[in-house]
Symmetry: C2
Subunit: 235 residues, 2 copies
Amino acid sequence: MIDDGWVPDRMCVTVDLVIFTILDGALSALIVERGIPPYAGTWALPGGFVGRHEPLEDAARRELREETGLGAEELHLEQLGAFGDPERDPRDRVVTVAYLALAPDLPLPTAGTDARAARWMAIDSIVSGQLALAFDHRKILRHGLDRARSKLEYTSLASAFCGKEFTITELRNVYEVVWNTKLDPRNFHRKITRAPGFLEPTGRRTTRDGGRPAELYRRGDASLLHPPMLMPTGS
Amino acid sequence: MIDDGWVPDRMCVTVDLVIFTILDGALSALIVERGIPPYAGTWALPGGFVGRHEPLEDAARRELREETGLGAEELHLEQLGAFGDPERDPRDRVVTVAYLALAPDLPLPTAGTDARAARWMAIDSIVSGQLALAFDHRKILRHGLDRARSKLEYTSLASAFCGKEFTITELRNVYEVVWNTKLDPRNFHRKITRAPGFLEPTGRRTTRDGGRPAELYRRGDASLLHPPMLMPTGS
DNA sequence: CCAATAGTGTCTCTTAGACATTATGTA
DNA sequence: TACATAATGTCTAAGAGACACTATTGG
């Protein structure tokens, strides 16, 4: 914060979004195909520049809206952190602030103004390196994945992947997909129903063929999950 | 990431540091008195502008070195996140990336080039609002406090507050000061010594008058604390 | 009746939390 | 010996994990 004639360097600030959903039983992220250099034709996380007078989170929600056409107000949005490696953008110094969003079934994304295409992609292809992303977006996505995984343990975030009303089995599927494990349905049911404030019974039940209908629940008030749902360890 | 003639807004990027230590039994943060506007004469977190070709963490370590005269390599440094409210700096749009550092007993800080003074301050005075900080630094410090508190639960971070060799009681004091609670010395001793990889016995012991000497330990390899040391709940 | 899925119960082992006792130094 | 601080032990209750059974739908 020096002001004795020396002028600080200015740089570009962007927001990038890691938007997860569960599609066909696979944890998937929203990616867009870049239409302009650098990395034209390469897939990337949705994102863009922050306006001069625009709060960071507003910018993130704006980009989310532009890329998905979804009312971003309903979505849980959480800052992942800043990524500012001087070499991360070949053009110029660009510091990006990454946000994480978890979404239930969304309408298929439509390409925005500055993207050729937009689509959901199973994160395995990205994490494994099979599909390369522009810039350091693979690293950012990796951070988002880690964050989502650990937040499932001690918050009631998992329900953000579900619709307004959901069953215990659907909720368990969220955990299983994000953690890439199998959980015991009985122990899961016991823990989740006993966690105070997590679930709110609706009294209604699913109508499906070939099995006993499941109770439907809504999100409860609690944002923290106590006691936590611990991810199974290798030990 | 548009490049069709439109030029993105550029802004200043800074780093700010929440540096905690324990002084006289109180959790304290390093603050500096600003020598130049805005907020000249007001206390603030140490920090400064990021250079055009400087990685964010390098900038944080540089500022840490400049403000404390300490070899910042040994210190645990963790990004807290970006703070970018458009109104947070009256001069100009400034996005800051905050870092958290935990330090054992440090040499008394010496004022840097752009600060009149530097000192440790018990965080209670800051959190309570008794001492006002410049910009949104109180909010940032509050974030750092929350982060430190929760990280103590499931990481072996607490030892970062201790010197190279420390006793169980010293370690327990760290938890008690940061969490502002009392912990049962016996249960704490059991948990912490059983946590795999947390502690490494040195075989040596303290020499102090008026009590049985305590065993001295070093940090172990583990960075995660399993099972976690849960903060006592009000329930 | 059978298939399929949902929900409940039981047992064991580990851990947290409360509390008493023993150990080892100095004055 | 008195005192102060460190370390260990014991009990109880709660939760995790493994597993078997009952319930409710559609064909």
